[in-house]
């Protein structure tokens, strides 16, 4: 009887402890990641939406240079994303978040996924807008906007850890974008080759990401 009583007391204490932990920590990680992205990327989101508004306005004003205007908007997005991924270094935040659950490596991972999703969404929006406004051919759209975007983002993802200054980060992004546009005008074969490398690197990156997520699942909280 005494033993049973002790056991029930232990169960009660364990239950209370579990309730406290459940109350304290976020049990749904997606919800927490969403909260994090809303706080961390609000400057990026505000600027991207504002830029989108201006782009649409310019497209209506300069109907004969629609593709160039959109291309300019995507350069702007690339610059913003360069700043977004670099600013943790810029403001010395790495040390203070290093001992937290969402550490700099996870921040980089979540930001990269969010940036890719936002840019893809903008790209689809851009294509639909172009289709509605003027007949644009898909290959031209891919060459002038999609491939430069992939290339510059891929290069930035790889280089950002070596970069030590915001201007250099943004310069790298803009430079790689401009390089791809130039390549698009020079030779479509060179561009196709560059793009296949980008796709291959992205594939490896996704595999690495999947591995990280799997290992996180194994070692999740308690």
């Amino acid at each position: 009887m005494n033993k049973e009583h002790q056991l029930s007391e232990i169960f009660e204490i364990c239950g209370q402890e579990l309730d406290e932990v459940m109350d304290k920590y976020e049990s749904r990680h997606i919800k927490n990641i969403w909260r994090f992205l809303k706080l961390d990327m609000r400057f990026y989101l505000k600027s991207a939406v504002l830029g989108l508004g201006f782009t649409m306005l310019w497209c209506c004003l300069f109907t004969n240079a629609v593709l160039s205007v959109w291309s300019g908007y995507f350069i702007f997005l690339v610059l913003l994303s360069a700043y977004q991924q670099y600013r943790i270094k810029e403001y010395d935040m790495q040390e203070v978040v290093a001992g937290c659950y969402i550490n700099p490596a996870r921040i980089f991972c979540y930001q990269s996924i969010a940036l890719a999703l936002i840019e893809t969404f903008m790209l689809v929006l851009c294509y639909l807008f172009l289709l509605a406004l003027t007949p644009v051919e898909l290959p031209e759209f891919l060459l002038k906007i999609y491939i430069p975007l992939c290339f510059s983002q891929g290069l930035l993802l790889w280089l950002v850890k070596y970069i030590r200054h915001t201007l250099v980060a943004m310069g790298t992004a803009a430079g790689s974008y401009a390089l791809t546009i130039w390549l698009a005008n020079c030779s479509q074969w060179v561009l196709a080759y560059t793009h296949s490398i980008c796709v291959f690197v992205s594939f490896i990156y996704l595999l690495a990401l999947a591995k990280i997520l799997m290992s996180q699942k194994e070692g999740l909280w308690n």
Binding site: Y25, L39, D92, E95, G99, W221
Partner: protein, 287 residues
């Protein structure tokens, strides 16, 4: 929570920043005292898990911290020496951001932020941008973010740098009030920060823990080594050359000099009760 370091060594370019350090700490305030460059920050970063030891293990409650790191970070509060922040965030936004990266739930973090802002007298600053805060207020925000998850291990690296005397006293009161709840390691080279609140002191020199004891026991070591000498200018200059002088008071015709020395510096020297400043100068006179 019990924190244990077993023969921890960390080198940078052949130089051992932390050299074969072992100790065990429980609840209470533990001062980590050492000169600049003695390895305090490296030791703190090893305990946080930002750095991995070349040799040895850091254990929390008997488990290697790196094997169960996500669980460990949930019990850890850390305020680094160089406290970075996003300047355009308000105090409230910054604390919410830190709560999110610590994986705290929305309901819990709101409650905790309100509590900490009140406790640290930051309520009036809650809507102010971080870039508008004074050095002392920034330090308080730094402490608040470290306390967000009610840590069982709290690591404060040079927490009083840039604080005025009043803020320093308030900080000491705050730390003393937390002493019963968690294991606090307070790294500093300012003796007065730990003198009145630390349960024990670890003295670090050249990457090694050379002393680890209570303040009283450490001061016991210093008995018979602190002297006061009344000297004229000639003798004062000689004392300055030959001994470690803690402080000097000049009056009209003589100097009153406090000296730390193993031997009696002069015939008229009087023995004084030692304090932690004397201990610091005794071990770090060359630093």
């Amino acid at each position: 929570m019990e924190l244990k370091l077993v023969k921890v060594t960390k080198s940078f370019n052949q130089k051992k920043a932390v050299n074969n350090v072992s100790f065990q700490l429980g609840k209470g305030v533990h001062g980590l005292l050492g000169a600049n460059g003695s390895g305090k920050t490296t030791l703190m970063r090893l305990i946080v898990g930002i750095l991995q030891a070349d040799q040895g293990i850091v254990k929390a409650d008997g488990k290697n911290i790196l094997k169960n790191y996500d669980t460990y970070t949930g019990k850890l509060g850390y305020m680094p020496q160089h406290f970075g922040y996003y300047p355009n965030y308000t105090v409230e936004d910054f604390l919410e951001y830190m709560a999110v990266v610590k994986d705290l739930s929305l309901k819990y973090s709101k409650k905790r932020i309100d509590f900490l802002l009140k406790k640290l007298n930051l309520e009036d600053q809650r809507k102010k941008k971080m870039k508008q805060l004074s050095g002392g207020m920034l330090r308080r925000v730094g402490i608040a973010q470290a306390l967000l998850n009610e840590p069982e291990i709290l690591l404060l690296d040079e927490p009083t740098a840039g604080l005025d005397p009043k803020e320093r006293i308030a900080f000491r009161h705050l730390i003393a009030s937390l002493a019963g709840q968690c294991c606090i390691i307070l790294s500093t080279h300012i003796v007065s920060d730990i003198e009145s609140i630390a349960d024990d002191v670890l003295v670090m020199k050249d990457g090694k823990i050379i002393l680890h004891d209570t303040c009283e026991a450490l001061l016991e070591h210093m008995q018979g080594k602190v002297w006061e000498v009344q000297a004229d200018q000639g003798i004062y200059k000689q004392l300055l050359r030959d001994f470690t002088i803690i402080n000097m008071h000049k009056s009209a015709d003589h100097y009153l000099v406090r000296i730390v020395s193993d031997v009696q510096p002069s015939e008229n020297a009087k023995l004084l009760p030692p304090d932690l400043d004397d201990l610091y100068m005794y071990y770090f006179k060359d630093a």
